[in-house]
């Protein structure tokens, strides 16, 4: 893995740094488990969507939103274990090239939530190399928090989809998303201006 020079960061901290940069009602899709727990903990926004299952579909869901609303920036947060379930989605995104889609991978090399078992990729595969090899040329490891923020800024004005990989520690998520799927979906649609609240 070509991650020797990357600092081990914290999911909630990195997520909070992302949220602090969002000023234009950007959509954020939070992948299953800790990824969306920390998205919830970073402070609920109407443009956040929280997944309660369907592991690996944060990027495809975000792609759907990006294709529906090409003028809105869409961020997707996914864990490394989740991404491994749906690597083909990277090539789909590389082919369609939605310029409003930015992907962030939280990589701790473990299935933290199930007991911290190492993923099959943990010691052998490089997420950024996989993304680049899948056709997403604009993929990079964040060296540290400052570099992460710089990459997010770049992603916001990029003319092609981008992927930022972040090495994170083994801490569990802080929040606990309210598990009401209909409410999550309805609020998200309000947040995206698709529906008006009753």
């Amino acid at each position: 893995m070509n991650t020797r020079n990357t600092k081990v960061m914290n999911r909630l901290d990195v997520t909070s740094r992302l949220i602090a940069k969002l000023k234009h009602e950007e959509a954020v899709i939070g992948g299953i488990g800790n990824t969306n727990f920390d998205l919830w903990a970073a402070g609920h926004r109407p443009q956040n969507f929280y997944m309660l299952g369907s592991m690996g579909l944060a990027f495809p869901i975000a792609l759907g939103v990006a294709l529906a609303q090409p003028d809105r920036r869409v961020f997707a947060l996914e864990g490394d274990g989740s991404l491994l379930m749906q690597l083909g989605a990277l090539s789909t995104i590389a082919t369609l090239k939605p310029k409003n889609l930015s992907m962030i991978v939280m990589d701790n090399g473990i299935y933290q939530i199930t007991g911290a078992q190492p993923t099959p990729a943990a010691n052998v595969a490089d997420i950024v190399a996989i993304a680049t090899g899948s056709g997403l040329a604009n993929s990079a490891w964040a060296a540290d928090e400052e570099d992460f923020e710089r990459l997010v800024e770049e992603a916001m004005s990029a003319s092609e989809p981008s992927l930022i990989a972040v090495r994170i520690d083994d801490k569990p998520g802080i929040g606990a998303t309210r598990r009401d799927p209909v409410q999550i979906r309805e609020r998200f649609m309000h947040g995206l201006g698709v529906r008006e609240p009753l």
Binding site: A27, I29, F49, M51, L52, G53, S54, M55, G56, L57, F59, P60, I61, A62, L63, G64, V65, A66, L67, A68, Q69, R72, Q86, L87, G88, A89, S91, T92, T95, L96, P181, V182, I184, R185, F188, M189, L192, G193, V194
Partner: protein
């Protein structure tokens, strides 16, 4: 006379195309403002997929897996754009998790067209077995599904089912039976 024949012939081609099963599906999608169509291909679906690609109204593309296509369709719906997913029976068999954890609980009107392999002349034992899992999975989630066997019923079933999916915010599976499409046989 030559001109008249040419005209008739062209009209006949047009009519034939519009009244084919795939022509009816395409027009029904369009009439219901379904413009996004991710798919995992199937031999039987080929003329539909080809015509979707040829029509600028549609954004249509292959995905690596069927559940990826379901994720895309779900995101698009929440963003205000309607989608339908095309797949084969064996692809449907990979969807139990995403149906039970995304489409159904989040109340997303997921519209699925499933080309039915595994029956009425199937030559691959695995296909015939996987086909038998499809309706029990649909029924276990109480999902609306229709098996379409007749050309004269296709438009009614597809159009009404799409409208029902949208208004009731519930997924629907439209199973395209070999009696409708001709299916895939050994010598093809």
């Amino acid at each position: 006379m030559a001109i008249a024949e040419q005209h008739t012939s062209s009209e006949a081609t047009q009519t034939s195309s519009d009244k084919s099963w795939h022509g009816i599906v395409l027009q029904t999608l369009k009439r219901n403002e379904i413009s996004l169509v991710p798919y995992v291909p199937d031999r039987v679906l080929t003329p539909l997929i080809k015509n979707l690609h040829a029509d600028p109204f549609f954004t249509t593309f292959a995905t690596a897996r069927e559940e990826e296509a379901v994720g895309i369709a779900s995101g698009a719906w929440m963003g205000g754009r309607r989608a339908a997913v095309l797949m084969q029976t064996s692809g449907f068999a990979t969807l139990a998790n995403v149906l039970a954890s995304l489409a159904v609980p989040y109340q997303i009107p997921l519209i699925m067209f499933v080309s039915e392999r595994g029956t009425l002349g199937e030559f691959n034992y695995g296909q015939s077995l996987v086909c038998r899992t499809m309706r029990p999975v649909l029924d276990s989630l109480a999902l609306e599904h229709h098996t379409i066997t007749r050309l004269d019923e296709l438009e009614f079933i597809a159009d009404r089912s799409i409208k029902q999916a949208v208004t009731t915010q519930a997924p629907v599976a439209l199973i395209l039976n070999p009696l409708l499409t001709g299916g895939k046989v050994f010598d093809k």
